[in-house]
Symmetry: D2
Subunit: 350 residues, 4 copies
Amino acid sequence: MRIGVLCSGGDSPGMNAAIRGAVLRGVDVHGFEMLGFMDGWRGFHDGEYLPLDRLAVRGLSPRGGVILGTSRVPPFPGGRGTPEALRSVAERFRALGLDGLLLIGGNGTQTVARMLSDAGMPVIGLPKTIDNDLDGTDYTFGFDTAVSIAAEAIDRLRTTGESHRRCMVLEVMGRDAGWIALHAGMAGGAQLTLVPEFPETIEQISEWVLSVRDRGRSSLVVVAEGFRLAGSEAGAVGTQVTREGHDGFGRPRLGGVAEVLAPLIEEHAGVETRATVLGHVQRGGPPTAFDRVLATRTGIAAADAVARGQWGMMAGLRGDRIELVPFVEAVGRLKTVPAARYAEARRNFG
Amino acid sequence: MRIGVLCSGGDSPGMNAAIRGAVLRGVDVHGFEMLGFMDGWRGFHDGEYLPLDRLAVRGLSPRGGVILGTSRVPPFPGGRGTPEALRSVAERFRALGLDGLLLIGGNGTQTVARMLSDAGMPVIGLPKTIDNDLDGTDYTFGFDTAVSIAAEAIDRLRTTGESHRRCMVLEVMGRDAGWIALHAGMAGGAQLTLVPEFPETIEQISEWVLSVRDRGRSSLVVVAEGFRLAGSEAGAVGTQVTREGHDGFGRPRLGGVAEVLAPLIEEHAGVETRATVLGHVQRGGPPTAFDRVLATRTGIAAADAVARGQWGMMAGLRGDRIELVPFVEAVGRLKTVPAARYAEARRNFG
Amino acid sequence: MRIGVLCSGGDSPGMNAAIRGAVLRGVDVHGFEMLGFMDGWRGFHDGEYLPLDRLAVRGLSPRGGVILGTSRVPPFPGGRGTPEALRSVAERFRALGLDGLLLIGGNGTQTVARMLSDAGMPVIGLPKTIDNDLDGTDYTFGFDTAVSIAAEAIDRLRTTGESHRRCMVLEVMGRDAGWIALHAGMAGGAQLTLVPEFPETIEQISEWVLSVRDRGRSSLVVVAEGFRLAGSEAGAVGTQVTREGHDGFGRPRLGGVAEVLAPLIEEHAGVETRATVLGHVQRGGPPTAFDRVLATRTGIAAADAVARGQWGMMAGLRGDRIELVPFVEAVGRLKTVPAARYAEARRNFG
Amino acid sequence: MRIGVLCSGGDSPGMNAAIRGAVLRGVDVHGFEMLGFMDGWRGFHDGEYLPLDRLAVRGLSPRGGVILGTSRVPPFPGGRGTPEALRSVAERFRALGLDGLLLIGGNGTQTVARMLSDAGMPVIGLPKTIDNDLDGTDYTFGFDTAVSIAAEAIDRLRTTGESHRRCMVLEVMGRDAGWIALHAGMAGGAQLTLVPEFPETIEQISEWVLSVRDRGRSSLVVVAEGFRLAGSEAGAVGTQVTREGHDGFGRPRLGGVAEVLAPLIEEHAGVETRATVLGHVQRGGPPTAFDRVLATRTGIAAADAVARGQWGMMAGLRGDRIELVPFVEAVGRLKTVPAARYAEARRNFG
């Protein structure tokens, strides 16, 4: 069997480990021929790929990024999954001589995977995203690494914040879901955690910052990039942050939500406040052991699914097992932070 | 309500975070009075405890060890849970004015928790152990930290092993269950993983080491401390390793399984081999973000269980939720590495 | 003898270790009474201080920040070291019953130390700054930690940059001197390093980024916050960055040099480019072992200097020894990156 | 010019960075042809080498180990530098068409470098050793990484030691010089530091451990592998530790000084004590930023020395500069811990 591997969307720590897991299992145990498309759908369309054998994946488990490259090039020529576009992908599938395709990606990619599968193509999904906003799996690989990096930043900011009696605001990734902020904030003992799912007013935030100061401490506020203010200052935070971290004109945006929030806190609470935007550091470098294991097991499970012909499924984490989940259960819905989880983390009384 | 907290057994990264989670939730949200017994059951028997309020748990999330201390002092005067011994504990319980007790510990401690609960005492269990050998929960806090430390050691040993073309043997913790070896080995891409559950012969191990050398690489062997050799050399590894890391006379043992295995590999495979015993480093220092979150949530869930009067339960991780599990489901059985998981990791073909 | 300790200016990893070193040596070996002023000169003026004994400094070596707090409150009531102002400080000195003062700070603080010393006050300087821009010492404590954090960020950004074939721009601290950029860039193998001392044109930068792309790699550009563009776009980078990380109106500035540089590179080189501003993360958290040792030894040397009555000196690192350097040699000059060092790092051909 | 690179002795973090620095400077700036011998002198004798161009050293700065491999194969056929043996090496030098040789190694290797130089061969030395026992340089690359790893181990052991009220003994590398123990102990705030240069009696050690316990703390003892007990128990520690970490029969030794010392402390002080032998973990993995910069600059300086024809020198660190030091000043003497440095660290009163 000739099996393709394709990564799409933003990179996520663990992608290399997932590829390695799938290849070692697929090639050595199941005898597949495997190949990886370069730069996501671009390599698929251009027929540019890397043969994936044991040597190609040697030593990949601890390595960040992804050897194949990834991109946001759309799978469909015109950008939409019309019947015609799907036929064109299926043709390319045949022309490449593929017996199956492993699709490593987030919500968008798994939605595409489902469309291809519905159109009859043999596809398996491997969920990855640092944002953890994918349904059908307890956690996506890359998330734990992003949380670890953000938690370490909190640990660092806390000491300098307390030395200067400042409020420190840390912006972490999460446009639509606040998972990184929620977990990093809890791990780091952040005084306030602000997520896209639950707007707060600047008055409420300032009151909390003041109550922390009244207890003799300095506030550490962790805020997801997609957080929006409620109330009168709602316009102040939010407008500047647009999809893909660009302003409306396709240029990298200047400043994030933290850089708008910090002066507002300083103004309302009268506490000196500094902003830090963690940015791309969150998605790079060696994956945590947790992500390496999760990604490797996901890759192994995907290779086994191919061997059993279980197409049209995503390899998700369920408890301590990797299970195959039908695409219909996994895609379409964004997994967001539920109210009960937010209630535990919103404000830290410590 | 007056709620005690008690840690028993070996320390595990995340214990402080669990205490902090339980106290912030218990004191601030539920209005409990809380107190923590010093050095496990010793403090319970001696009536030595620390009042646990918000200030007492400030900044604890990232801190390793446990502020209360922990010990292996037995809960029962004579060491056995006889009816009389249980009555004596119940009396002490009343004398201390306790309305409930949170027991943070591993398999042994949770078994005690069940006995106390069966005897009518209001108890909630919080599972902790770096060994991850507890049933009723997907993972125990402390495990992820231990795996991370072991995986980092593998990353380090690999570079020096390859520079000198040596086989490196790393011994990690795990007397009865090979979870740390399994996960750290997979994360680090170890060539061989040896666990207590599945003995191997020295001939088989040597053959693998040689096949790795034939592919131009150096072997990294991760071995759990409880691993035993099968076959003719079975006596060589195993006899020296006894409970609690002591020799039969209560003195710290000299040398571990790695230090016996390394010269055997050198002898049988003819490959220069070096041993490293990671030891107590695995259980110290700041918990990973994963363990901090898991421990904090476990503490929160335990405080909530107290508030709802759900006694006789253990707060376990199930998928991405903390659920209360009756002791009967959680204790007694050791959770060991199943054959399917071992088959994925036993030998790495990369 | 009654010896005060005072920290002034921005915090720097290692300040706690320096205090601990001075106190353990001063109190236990030399029998001093020691006290630390809270929040820099504020505590000195307000008479707010912490008695510094063995217990007060327990466990401080690995801890970031500084237990005394630090601030930019000026030493002199009117902000200038007029004869009158100096007399007022000397009076306060006497009123506090001080026999000596250890001043932990950067260039500004050491200049003040010299003024006090010239005015007859018994003062010893301990040089700290993450910027490493102090003469009279090979390295200042805090610098190695900042470089380590920046180098780790480079390692992380590199993998995500290469996965997406993007140019990544990392802004590190350094308003007047490019030491952090120089060392972190060399440690991380940055393709380009841009420092305040040596302006470059956007055309030159873009040419380098393109030549890196032509060799099949992605550029990692590390830029010190004080870097200025030369040539036609000179106005574009620089105006927004002002002293203390504030805009001209005392509010935290929005965006740094990286956020201006990145779109210019994208425009001129036609390579997708992303900016990250590392910010306060660089000055927080546990110091590196190097900084802990340097700071501890500096504290010990300062206590010994007090015991020997060697006032008017700064405890500087010279090779592998801590030596006392007269203030006249240590302050006044900013230590900047020399041309020969920049030539080694400016452009990395790898 | 055709320049060889050769690594000899134990590996040391930073060797790859040094090779990269020398190659980027040598090939791109000076136009050398460069080649690296595989596995030290073995590759020199067998004529097995790797052409070293820009591509060969790409991305090497953060990588531990050494791409060329290293070994303890002796440079001289018979093992001794007889006139005949030197002639034979010189002949091989010519046969390989070398115009110069960069020798990366510790004391032994630099002594060989001097012999070759005295015999007329154009050689430059690059000092590396994690032990830091080389004269003629402030620090050797690899040392800072080893210290960092050991200091992190101390941080970890401390939390578990304090939770269990145990004395923890950590053995670090250092057969003849105690530099790693000295610096790691100071960085980690170890209560006791034991080095080969200064024997102590078990009675003295136990007294210190007890005085620490009397102050309510747990002892952390860091001991260099070459430490010997003074007094009546002198025989107990020392005999088992032999050159190269082997027993007298060439098999890896079982147990180190820590494993002998721990039960003696437990016996004499009556405090529960545990031993950890850090071992090879100290010499592997990514170098610290400090070591990467030091190694890169050493490589650059060596390439520049070649270009200027400054043979017979070692590139040493002097303050913040790399300087060329004649072999006569650099080799022969072991740099050991002086009494004044030991006095600062021997016993920590904190």
